[in-house]
Amino acid sequence: MTILFQLVRRNMRIYLRDRATVFFSFLSVIIILLLYILFLGEMQTDSLIQHFGDIEGIDWLVSAWIMAGILTVSTVTVPLTVLGTLIQDRSNGTINDFYVSPINRKILALSYLISSWIIGFVMVFFNFVIGQIYVYFNGGEFLHFIPIMQLLGVVMLSIVSFSSFFFYISLFIKTTNAFSILGTIVGTFIGFLGGIYIPIGILSDNVQFVMNILPTAHSVTLLRNIYMKGAIDVVFSGTPDEVFDTYSMIYGLEVNIGDFGLNNIHLLFGMIIFAVIFYILSVIKLSNSKL
């Protein structure tokens, strides 16, 4: 236990003391936020007003939608950056210093995962607090205790899923250079995969199918439904059901694979299965090779 604790603390310190790393783990989030403040937010608001009329709560709806998306993005990018410590340790040989010590290699591997969970959670939590303030100043309300707990639960699950995935990928990456390329690719695509730059409903069926089987869609959909509940109640209170159904389909408040609509349990299981698959693959990979 002491070894695991010390290793996790070490990994966390290394991440937190490198300000550039902390900044870069939020780069995608910052870019998305800027795009929304500059023009995407206004475009979305205008388009909604055009469709549904200038009804109360649109700004709240749009800001909650974007904040839910940003939360999902940070559950992907923060754990990924934290796992960079593993790549660094491998490329500069620090891992050899661990390997000549009498420590269990599973504990060593676990220490990287646990630190990505903890830092991921803390950082995304800060992100959430800032998001809440943003929503509040855009005419929204703060979330209540139970939705906050539900939301943080989904956030945690999302972090565990993506860190499990990226941990497996990290086992194949030997250099920090390759890792930063991965970071750039993920950072570029995550805004699209989460259906944030462009609402998922206006993309072609094939693209939607691919996006919907990925856990980014599962995570963002669950988070949106929790985050936007208050705004939805206000905006869609006086409109026919079809109006909300259309909105929900275009703006990714539901996940359909083909004609099959996934409910919350399906979405949660989707993320759990994703996490378990890559965890098992990592264990298999580690059983016949070094970290």
């Binding site: 010390q6 290793l7 070490r10 310190r13 500069n92 000549v100």
Partner: protein, 302 residues
């Protein structure tokens, strides 16, 4: 008592044979030096002994534990100083040591005592709370050695510990290893390509292209493979006279060099050609000569 026994060790990297059936033993509490040029197979051998790298053939035991079978026992009894710095730049030296100490189940109280003991040799207290990344080269090396000593290992393995250091730091590091060896019962296993670092070694093994080309104490090797020589700055036509007298010599940096069997033979030469000599030196054969004579190449390429 034998600390390390290597028997017919073979290691290949694909087609390349890095280590070709080498065998040697290291006595307990001795100072063992592994000498060879870059790429000779020194680091490969060290990595295999310290359980980092699998080997293809041969048997290795470290303190009666078999490499590949009892790796965990071996790891708890050795300390390794790698060629490159392995501690975390963003942590202080103390934080680094606390993390590494936990690997050996050393609690904080024992660790503080251990750091005090290590400080007697390494004088690390002055930069204990500084970040490792901010230290000078010499301080970093001391911190690396402190890390390797954190479990008071029975065998301290040092892979080219002074490479890249300035002369003063090299001397410091060298003195503290020497002190450690004399005062603590620890076996020193050193790899190096600096011949002056192996002069005190109880045993020197010379490796070249994956093969052991010679082994023995540095004195034995020197006697066997190198000769003393007289180095002369001539006055006038000494070369011509030497040719007439059929004495073999070679020119190096404008000096005339004559190899001799022992330094008294050198004095004879100096006496005989006194009037043709401006300055002279009688040099003992060194490990560079040993290496040159065995392999036909210089140890450190210039």
């Amino acid at each position: 008592m034998i600390a390390i026994k290597v028997d017919n060790l073979v290691k290949n990297y694909g087609e390349i044979e890095a280590v070709k059936k080498i065998s040697f033993t290291v006595e307990k509490n001795s100072f063992f030096a592994f000498l060879g040029p870059n790429g000779a197979g020194k680091s490969t051998t060290i990595n295999i002994i310290s359980t980092l790298l699998n080997h293809d053939d041969g048997d290795i035991s470290v303190l009666d534990n078999i490499v590949g079978k009892n790796d965990s026992e071996i790891r708890s009894k050795i300390g390794v100083v790698f060629q490159n710095s392995m501690l975390d730049d963003l942590l202080t030296v103390k934080e680094n040591l606390i993390v590494r100490a936990s690997f050996y189940s050393i609690d904080k109280l024992r660790l503080l005592k251990r750091i005090e003991e290590i400080n007697e040799y390494l004088e690390i207290n002055s930069f204990l709370n500084q970040r490792y990344g901010e230290l000078s080269g010499g301080q970093r090396r001391k911190a690396d050695i402190a890390r390797a000593l954190i479990n008071w290992p029975e065998i301290l393995i040092l892979d080219e510990p002074t490479t890249g250091l300035d002369p003063k730091s090299r001397k410091d590091i060298w003195e503290l290893i020497d002190k450690l060896r004399k005062e603590k019962e620890v076996t020193i296993f050193l790899t190096t390509h600096y011949m002056e670092e192996v002069l005190d070694a109880n045993k020197v093994v010379i490796i070249d292209e994956g093969v052991i080309v010679a082994q023995g104490s540095s004195e034995e090797l020197r006697l066997k493979y190198s000769k003393d020589r007289v180095k002369i700055i001539p006055n006038n036509n000494l070369e011509k006279i030497l040719k007439e007298d059929k004495i073999d010599y070679y020119i190096m940096n404008d000096t005339i060099n004559i190899t001799v069997d022992g330094c008294f033979k050198g004095i004879d030469i100096v006496e005989k050609y006194r009037e043709h000599i401006r300055e002279f030196e009688i040099l003992r054969g060194d490990m560079d000569d040993v290496f040159l004579n065995i392999t036909g190449r210089k140890l450190v390429s210039e």
